[in-house]
């Protein structure tokens, strides 16, 4: 599959109906190319979370169009029958907290996704190990999540986001719990991984430290996105 990133056109989301209707998203247009890391910035209540949930296929938008790679996944209605499989196979998630499954070890936390998709246990673990090597956490492969440091946990979480080679990764404040150095390190990793695995990465953040690293930034305000050039500052 050729990763062609993610494209969103005129996405709308209205909660409720009639007089009490709230327009969370009025008009969202975004495009993230494979290998690109873009920032999504907005104040609370701007519709940031709603957008993320729509992108993550956990809530249904009201109107608009979403194209993932070559496939139209939403065009005023879901075009994919199995949203679970869509989330599993074609969208990677990295959360503010790592949200690792506490009763699975690090490898299985990551390997679980390919396993859910029907990949054999051995192959799934092999895939996870490859990512751990790339993310330099392979020495912690057998540890339980509770035994990892915050940074390590976040790297494992990134590995989990990547493991099924999704065309897009949604990262929701991935650096929030980390100090400045580690936060930058995570962004560096995301940049590296985006390039390496040809993945489009959307980083939702309001972390001032990392905003300057994006080349492109989408601002969202009152349900409307505005595209802006970022500084694209290199990370030392």
């Amino acid at each position: 599959m050729v990763n062609k990133g993610i494209r969103i056109e005129g996405l709308k989301k209205t909660y409720g109906s009639g007089d009490t209707a709230v327009e969370a998203l009025k008009s969202v247009d975004m495009y993230v190319a494979p290998g690109e890391v873009v920032g999504l910035i907005g104040p609370s209540g701007s519709g940031k979370s709603t957008l993320l949930k729509c992108l993550g296929a956990v809530i249904e938008p009201t109107a608009g169009k979403m194209v993932l790679g070559d496939d139209v996944i939403y065009d005023d209605a879901w075009k994919v029958r199995d949203l679970r499989a869509l989330r599993r196979d074609r969208i990677g998630f990295v959360f503010q907290a790592p949200y690792l499954i506490p009763f699975l070890d690090v490898t299985d936390n990551v390997a679980l996704l390919p396993m859910l998709a029907g990949v054999r246990n051995g192959d799934a673990r092999k895939r996870a190990m490859e990512l751990f090597e790339a993310l330099e956490v392979e020495h912690r492969a057998k540890a339980m999540p509770s035994q990892l440091s915050g940074g390590e946990q976040q790297r494992v979480a990134i590995a989990r986001g990547l493991v099924n080679r999704p065309p897009v990764i949604l990262a929701d404040e991935p650096t929030a719990p980390l100090d400045s150095d580690r936060a930058l390190a995570v962004i560096q990793i995301l940049n590296d991984m985006a390039k390496k695995y040809e993945t489009a990465i959307i980083v939702v953040t309001h972390d001032e430290k990392i905003i300057p690293t994006f080349k492109r930034i989408y601002h969202i305000r009152d349900g409307v996105t505005y595209e802006e050039e970022g500084e694209g500052r290199a990370i030392e």
């Binding site: 979370s49 949930k53 956990v58 599993r88 009763f103 859910l116 404040e173």
Partner: protein, 401 residues
């Protein structure tokens, strides 16, 4: 695919094992309850087995000798012995009373058995120590549940008996241990009062002018002698000869001797169907309540465990785990809990509870198998609330709200 449930249990095994043990004790009590019911039925059957009889001849129109009192003359057996198809007959008396050994007493069913040789109906079928009664007076074979030892002198009413043999599982339908004594002694015991009562009775008779007449000095003695005989027994046990159907023999005794006769099947119906029916219903109610309590506990535990995993479940859903997998996770955990509980329950019921219950607790393997499936079903049903909770989790919750 890895087992999520297994991993979770492995991760929080302490919680599981200890919860399982608690549940296990409850299941143990439930199994013991079933065991008590089985024990009651078994007590009834053992009583019938031990009598070694095919037919019970009792007083007309009574449910005797176990469910109702029955008394018939002790020479009726002669007539029955002559009926075609009758192989062996024996008189028998049953009387539940206190049996004394020194200062302490035991409630027991004193059974008067016809002297003879081994195999006479009514005799204990097997012993665990000592020997069968060989003298026709003042010897007793007691069940070990009475706590008596070989050689003990026990007192039944006015007479002392030497314990010569011990039995096991020889009980009345109430679970009282049996004490076997020779028939003649038992007939006396049935009738004989304590010494004081005898003296008082003699005084009363002597004070009655009708019995103490100056012109007939011997009348009082004759009257008193007539008062202290008891020509009654409770039943006649009949063993039917080979080649005869008990029903036919019973029918002919009923017809020609005008007595009530029960076959083994009828006796079982009386004992199980009438005598212990209320207790059985009571125990059944306990079983139902205990099952409900058990399922409530399982439901509560599983629900709590699931609530503790809501976030993980949301993540699992978000990353595309199927509902089936999540339901499987919960049900498997629930069943695992049930299994630990069942194993602990079975062990505790057998090793801890059954021996301390005063009544016989019979744990049938078949009951355990049923119990196992009931536990599994209860666990599955109990996890429904937890499953509903888990399925209603919105995967969107995983994404910062």
């Amino acid at each position: 695919m890895i087992s999520l449930a297994g991993r979770d249990i492995l991760h929080s095994w302490g919680k599981f094992v200890f919860t399982g043990m608690g549940l296990g004790l409850l299941i143990g009590i439930t199994l013991s309850m079933a065991g008590i019911y089985r024990g009651m039925v078994d007590d009834a059957k053992v009583l019938l087995d031990n009598s070694g009889a095919d037919l019970w001849v009792v007083q007309k129109d009574t449910l005797g000798p176990y469910a109702e009192s029955s008394s018939i003359y002790d020479d009726i057996w002669r007539g029955i012995r002559g009926m075609p198809g009758v192989e062996e007959v024996a008189n028998i008396t049953y009387l539940t009373m206190q049996v004394f050994k020194g200062d302490h007493d035991v409630r027991a069913m004193v059974t008067g058995i016809t002297p003879g040789e081994v195999g006479t109906p009514g005799w204990p079928l097997y012993l665990v120590a000592g020997r069968q009664i060989t003298r026709s007076h003042y010897e007793a074979v007691a069940d070990i549940a009475t706590g008596f030892k070989l050689g003990d002198q026990i007192r039944i009413r006015r007479h002392h008996y030497t314990v010569t043999g011990l039995t096991r599982r020889m009980v009345s339908s109430n679970g009282d241990p049996m004490v076997f004594i020779p028939l003649k002694d038992a007939q006396e015991a049935l009738f004989l009062k304590d010494n004081d009562a005898i003296w008082e009775q003699r005084r009363r008779s002597a004070g009655t002018p009708a019995f103490n007449r100056p012109g007939l000095p011997d009348l009082l003695d004759s009257f008193m002698a007539s008062q202290s005989t008891n020509p009654f027994v409770n039943a006649v046990l009949v063993r039917v000869g080979a080649g005869h159907r008990p029903e036919e023999v019973a029918a002919s005794i009923r017809r020609w001797k005008r007595l009530t006769v029960y076959t083994r099947a009828q006796m079982e119906e009386i004992l199980v169907g009438k005598l212990i029916a209320t207790s059985a219903r009571q125990i059944f109610m306990f079983l139902v309540i205990l099952s409900l309590v058990s399922s409530a506990i399982v439901a509560f535990i599983i629900y709590t465990l699931t609530l503790g995993k809501i976030r993980e479940i949301a993540v699992l859903k978000l990353i595309g785990t199927k509902n089936r997998t999540i339901v499987g996770l919960i049900i498997q955990q629930s069943i695992a809990l049930g299994m630990i509980g069942f194993v602990v329950g079975k062990i505790s019921a057998t090793l801890l509870m059954a021996p301390i219950f005063p009544k016989y607790v019979l744990l049938l393997p078949f009951d355990s198998v049923i119990g196992f499936f009931v536990v599994v079903v209860i666990c599955i049903l109990s996890s429904i609330i937890a499953i509903r909770a888990a399925l209603s989790v919105d995967p969107a919750e995983a994404i910062g709200g």
